[in-house]
Subunit: 376 residues, 2 copies
């Protein structure tokens, strides 16, 4: 019954919310650094809107558009040097989880000298550049979290900076930037959001507040499934209309607020290796293992899984599995050697060691992988 709730980010949501609230930038300084990937923010209109708002307020800006998918530690240091060179006052990041996560690390590194070996230790002083986040996918929730998740080659996985310092000051949430997002990306990111809400409810840090947000997020995911399934079936992106985009974005923001409280659990711990070694999209990786993990939890806490299924309008876990099968299609293959390696890595994560209401053993993790990838 003990919990902590903290989510200080100010969220503006709605069409044209950046341009309509340009005065927000004014309070953060006179020179901004835009952090984004190579092309998507230019195509989806988010960069134009940010620049329009900055010009309206007479704020200078520089652009760092070199963030790759699953951003590296090196990229974060590079961006922080760029920020220092240009003497920027704050950071605006447009993109999916990758630019947002990299931007958060840059905001920290631009103000503090932190060695790479100390980057994930959580021992920081209070200085950080303010961050404004503009999500252009609906999945990660990074716009409302204190996490920067970076590819960490030293441990062949992803590692998180988790610090209240890097909560974005402001998030501008406008679903219009998602209109052209391909079906696969749309589905994968939506499944990422779902995994956040479901894993939030499976976390020892879940609370009445995080569960309220998780349930509403899960309901929005379910509401969007018929449209996503039909778009997959007909291979027709245009079926994913503005209203569905809006709901998916809200689903992701709510789910982000959830993991800001709860963190994630075994689902994410297992997914990280699928992404690191097999280049499987992060949300998809979570979705591939989530039903198996839920089946494992169900053995010890059937009421907990029944509660989640009930929110989805389901009674059986098999219905949930079937839905994800339709959304994710045929699974990739991995080997038994992979299973051993990924399971060992998953067990090293805090997600499993310290965050699950029902924590799997290494053998449990192996069994979930084996069954999922038809190796059992």
């Amino acid at each position: 019954m003990n919990y902590k709730y903290h989510m200080p980010t100010k969220v503006f949501s709605g069409k044209d919310c950046i341009v309509n609230n340009s005065e927000v930038f004014k309070s953060l300084g006179t020179k901004a650094m835009l952090v984004t990937g190579r092309s998507s923010a230019k195509k989806n209109g988010s960069q134009d809107d940010v620049i329009k708002a900055l010009k309206a307020e007479g704020i200078e800006y520089v652009i760092f558009d070199q963030v790759m998918a699953n951003p590296t530690i090196a990229c974060s240091y590079q961006g922080s040097e760029f920020a220092k060179q240009h003497g920027v006052d704050f950071i605006i990041t447009m993109g999916g989880g990758s630019p947002m996560d990299a931007a958060k690390a840059m905001a920290l590194l631009a103000k503090q000298n932190i060695k790479e070996e100390d980057l994930f230790n959580g021992q920081y002083s209070q200085d950080v550049l303010p961050i404004v986040a503009v999500p252009t996918t609906a999945g990660t929730g990074s716009e409302v979290t204190q996490y920067s998740i970076l590819t960490n080659d030293a441990v062949e996985s992803k590692t998180s900076i988790a610090s209240e310092l890097i909560f974005p000051k402001v998030a501008f949430v406008d679903a219009k930037y998602m209109m052209g997002l391909p079906i696969a990306t749309t589905v994968n990111t939506a499944v990422d959001a779902l995994s956040h809400s479901v894993e939030g409810m499976l976390s020892i840090r879940s609370s009445v507040v995080s569960d309220a947000l998780a349930k509403e997020s899960i309901k929005l995911f379910v509401k969007c499934c018929p449209v996503m399934c039909e778009a997959i079936k007909q291979d027709d992106l245009s079926l994913i209309n503005e209203s569905t985009r809006y709901d998916l974005m809200q689903c992701a923001v709510l789910a982000g607020m959830v993991i800001a409280q709860t963190g994630t659990t075994a689902g994410h711990a297992m997914g990280y290796s699928l992404t690191y070694f097999k280049d499987i999209d992060h949300g998809r990786a979570n979705g591939l293992v989530l039903p198996g993990y839920m089946a494992f939890v169900e053995k010890q806490k059937p009421a907990l899984i029944a509660e989640i299924l009930s929110v989805m309008g389901m009674t059986q876990l098999s219905e949930f599995r079937d839905l994800l099968d339709v959304l994710l299609g045929e699974s990739e293959q991995i080997s038994i050697a992979d299973v051993d390696k990924y399971s060992a890595k998953a067990m090293l994560t805090g997600n499993i060691k310290a965050n699950c209401k029902v924590a799997p053993t290494e053998q449990d993790v192996k069994s979930i992988f084996m069954e999922r990838f038809d190796l059992a």
Copy 2:
């Protein structure tokens, strides 16, 4: 579909959360001012816990325990002078809405010279004493809002300071301080929380986030009703056990998070006069008029009222009215002259003028009062 979400207060919830997180005080300064009423914080143990935590951290403190129910503007100025005299770094307030609301005004006035005529104009500089809030009733939600609601004799009503500056930095939510709360106070404050969640859903500023929190809060209220009804019937306070106290406290915190986003509507606007002129407890006043206001909204937006009733497990508004009748008992009496006066006052509030999905006219407000008080 446009909304803003902001609730930066860090909430610690659970038994003994103050003593278990005493280090929180350390980050706020070396001298604290405790703001509370004359006696309740001493009786319910919250003052002892705060002092124990301050001593553990070596923090000095002074006590201002002169806050009355429905606190006045004069009291706020008096407390701010006390804070200045003693050079305190931050404020800790223990109590129901009255001490918390007064403390928020004191935090502002201790750092800024604001004339009484400018107190409610929202034009403040950034200086404010940090506030830690310890609710000892479960109703107001003031521990997670940016409102300080003061009795304003100049307008014969209550008036709000609404500013992000006065969001408490931290709220410590521990239901144990409520264990001895009389039945009537317990019910009135619970009904206040209910009115926050319901009115939040009736506000033009409601959003997917505020509605998620409101629905969970309403469910908790409903969960606690059988116990509250039985305690009323048997006139036995001991029936309101620890688990119910915990649920009521969570209900109130969630509802506070709701009105931090949405504000309140006609229910509160109408209730203020009942409190100002008839000394009817604030939560009770809201509860007396809420079913009538909902019936008015139902005529234009039946789906909205059906959604609220559905969360409560009800299909008819009459069920809701019956429940409140059991909880609140026989109503006070007011005159037709009172109705005219209160209705005119209600129409002057922003709650009605600018915040209702379905805004009543003055005649509508009169009709709701007339029907409620058997004057029709």
